[in-house]
């Protein structure tokens, strides 16, 4: 059995691609081709460098991965949720940091403006964000408020025609690359509001976090806002309360559900092909029962992930997707991908500790993916509350 046949079988054991539309097939192929040529050969090196490879930004914009589900009038392509999912799958097959970049730009920043912004704000930002001329970040999490965003300290006080924003945000993807930050803060009445904060304003500071042992190809920052003054017209008029940022998180989590499929797929294919050529005690390790047991277990989990992603996409397409359904799939897929990548690293043996192979990079990245956009535990409680009608936070 040659490499291509083995890869295809591992990636799609139940022939789910028979269900794909032409649009989904073409989008997947286009993004895969880009990632195979432009990202994967350099991913290990970029990851070690610990910064997002900014030269990719115009290339990703040209490929069309920023805000692709938005209408053409705002620079989007009107992509279906399933095609968007496959796009995220293929990006994260390259690296979780690459998918995170696209997730934050599209699912968080652009989505926030599209859903909660005024027409003027949409016209001003969205087409240029689609072109990659403006990079956005999304400031919700704070140093002391992660899983409990209602405990945020950042305040936006009315002073005349302006809001004056003060506070700190942490673990902000793209923070020090962004030209605009979507910042969530409580107003004088204690209601959570969204603000479009140009990052060059006086009092705005973004500091890179360089100590990460995970998601190293992604730019992650701490934001400090020290009396940053913005006109009232920079407030997102349709966002009232915590529901708005949480709705954006649902979008981003949907992308993660698909992205993690890509990371798991890549780690599993790498480990399986390695097992077919690496010999121990005179035979390929793929001929060992212990290894076969692991690979079959990983393949089964990958298939679970794919089926959940696909049906979630169908619900999204049909307009009935609920956030608790997204939570269950995010919880499952991030954890399953993490465990698949860990086992792939184990199968690679000593070679598995090097970023010359992909598994350890995916594994380390997926520790972040399992944690951000709602930890495994928080999603357990969201689904638990939905199933049982009792909040247990």
């Amino acid at each position: 059995m040659d490499i291509q046949n083995t890869t295809e079988k591992l990636e799609d054991f139940y022939q789910l691609q028979d269900l794909w539309t032409e649009e989904e097939t073409d989008v997947k192929n286009a993004v895969r081709r880009f990632v195979d040529r432009e990202v994967i050969p350099h991913a290990g090196e970029w990851w070690q460098q610990g910064e997002f490879p900014a030269h990719l930004i115009p290339m990703l914009a040209e490929l069309g991965v920023f805000g692709p589900t938005l209408p053409e009038a705002y620079g989007g392509s009107g992509l279906s949720p399933l095609a968007y999912g496959l796009m995220m799958q293929e990006l994260e097959r390259g690296d979780s940091g690459l998918r995170s970049f696209a997730s934050v730009q599209s699912g968080l920043a652009m989505h926030a403006i599209y859903r909660y912004g005024s027409e003027e704000q949409k016209q001003e930002y969205l087409p240029r964000m689609a072109k990659g001329e403006i990079i956005g970040c999304f400031g919700l999490t704070e140093p002391d408020a992660g899983s409990d965003p209602a405990a945020m300290i950042t305040r936006a006080s009315e002073e005349g025609d302006s809001y004056v924003i003060s506070g700190a945000k942490r673990w902000i993807t793209n923070g020090h690359l962004a030209q605009v930050a979507v910042v969530w803060a409580k107003d004088d009445a204690g209601i959570v509001r969204g603000f479009l904060v140009p990052t060059q304003l006086p009092g705005f500071h973004a500091t890179p976090i360089h100590t990460k042992a995970s998601m190293r190809m992604s730019a992650t920052s701490e934001l400090y806002l020290d009396r940053v003054r913005v006109p009232k017209s920079f407030q997102l008029p349709e966002a009232h309360g915590l529901g708005a940022p949480l709705n954006c998180l649902t979008q981003a989590r949907y992308g993660i559900v698909w992205g993690t499929v890509g990371a798991a797929m890549d780690a599993l294919v790498e480990a399986s092909l390695y097992a077919k050529t690496r010999t121990a005690f005179g035979r390929p390790i793929a001929a060992k029962q212990l290894v076969q047991s692991h690979i079959v277990g990983m393949e089964t989990r990958l298939l679970n992930m794919q089926l959940m992603a696909r049906q979630l996409g169908q619900l999204y397409l049909g307009g009935t997707m609920r956030y608790a359904q997204v939570s269950m799939a995010k919880r499952h897929n991030a954890r399953a991908a993490l465990e698949i990548a860990r086992m792939a690293r184990e199968i690679l043996g000593g070679n598995g500790i090097s970023t010359d192979y992909h598994a350890i990079r995916h594994m380390a990245n997926l520790e972040t993916v399992d944690t951000y956009e709602g930890t495994y535990e928080i999603h357990t409680l969201i689904v638990g509350r939905d199933l049982l009608g009792e909040a247990a936070f």
């Binding site: 046949n5 073409d26 989008v27 490929l63 692709p68």
Partner: protein, 255 residues
């Protein structure tokens, strides 16, 4: 200017080919199909000419329904519309060129671009035969192409062994593309979505009423013979060297 690009769909070069039991062709099940890479250079060149000088790029493809995927890819790269000549029959280069030339002639054009050859059968005949069918000048294996619209002429650089040949010719003409002519662009997501709305006209090959009796028929396709098991010599270097020379002389008969 109006540019037609004839495009063939071929098995991905990474695909492992299996020969059919009847020896008349390859097993098509499970094959990943792509645009012939040389045709991609032709599409890219057509798009660049259009971007510079305006006009229209029309894809002309021939084959069974699976070629629609290659057509969609071409439209997603930026071509304006496509004509597909539908047939399930095995088509030899002469028949393909006759049918493509008929459709190109009916479409009308200033320039026909295509790959210098298809990477599946490597016959490299279809481009030149389209030119012959339409009575046009042609230039093959082109590495660089310049269009002089005012003078209605083309200037092309061709790759020769150890040399570059520069030729000029009037157009309408047929130009076949070599690797190095350009770097083909990726289909992008916006263009994939736009491609869904572009016109694809389908013409059945039978409806063209052409005499397409094959001039070349495939007798048999077979895989190269399996390599015999290698002989591995072991022992002292002095002994194995002597044995190697003996084998090369008396068995392999190369010394």
């Amino acid at each position: 200017m109006k540019i037609l690009v004839t495009v063939k769909q071929v098995p991905d070069t990474a695909t492992k080919i299996q020969i059919r039991a009847d020896g008349q062709g390859i097993q098509e099940d499970g094959i990943k199909w792509v645009i012939n890479p040389y045709d991609e250079f032709a599409i890219e060149e057509a798009l660049r000419i259009k971007e510079k000088q305006g006009g229209e790029v029309v894809i002309v493809a021939l084959g069974p329904s699976r070629v629609e995927e290659a057509v969609r890819q071409s439209l997603a790269m930026g071509a304006d519309r496509a004509v597909v000549i539908s047939t399930d029959a095995a088509v030899d280069p002469a028949a393909a060129a006759t049918a493509l030339a008929a459709v190109c002639g009916e479409e009308g054009f200033d320039l026909i671009l295509t790959g210098k050859q298809a990477v599946d059968d490597d016959s490299a005949q279809v481009g030149p035969m389209i030119a012959a069918n339409l009575g046009l000048p042609q230039v093959t294996v082109v590495l660089k192409l310049e269009v002089d619209e005012a003078g209605h002429r083309l200037r092309a650089e061709r790759e020769l062994e150890g040399a570059t040949e520069i030729v000029e010719l009037p157009y309408p003409a047929v130009v076949t593309a070599q690797r190095g002519l350009n770097e083909p662009r990726y289909p992008t997501l916006p263009n994939i979505m736009k491609a869904k709305k572009k016109e694809v006209r389908r013409v059945s090959m039978d409806s063209l009423s052409l005499a397409l009796d094959p001039r070349v028929t495939v007798n048999r396709l077979f895989a190269p013979p399996e390599r015999p098991e290698p002989t591995i010599l072991s022992g002292e270097p002095e002994e194995t060297a002597k044995e190697l020379v003996r084998l090369l002389h008396s068995e392999a008969k190369v010394l």
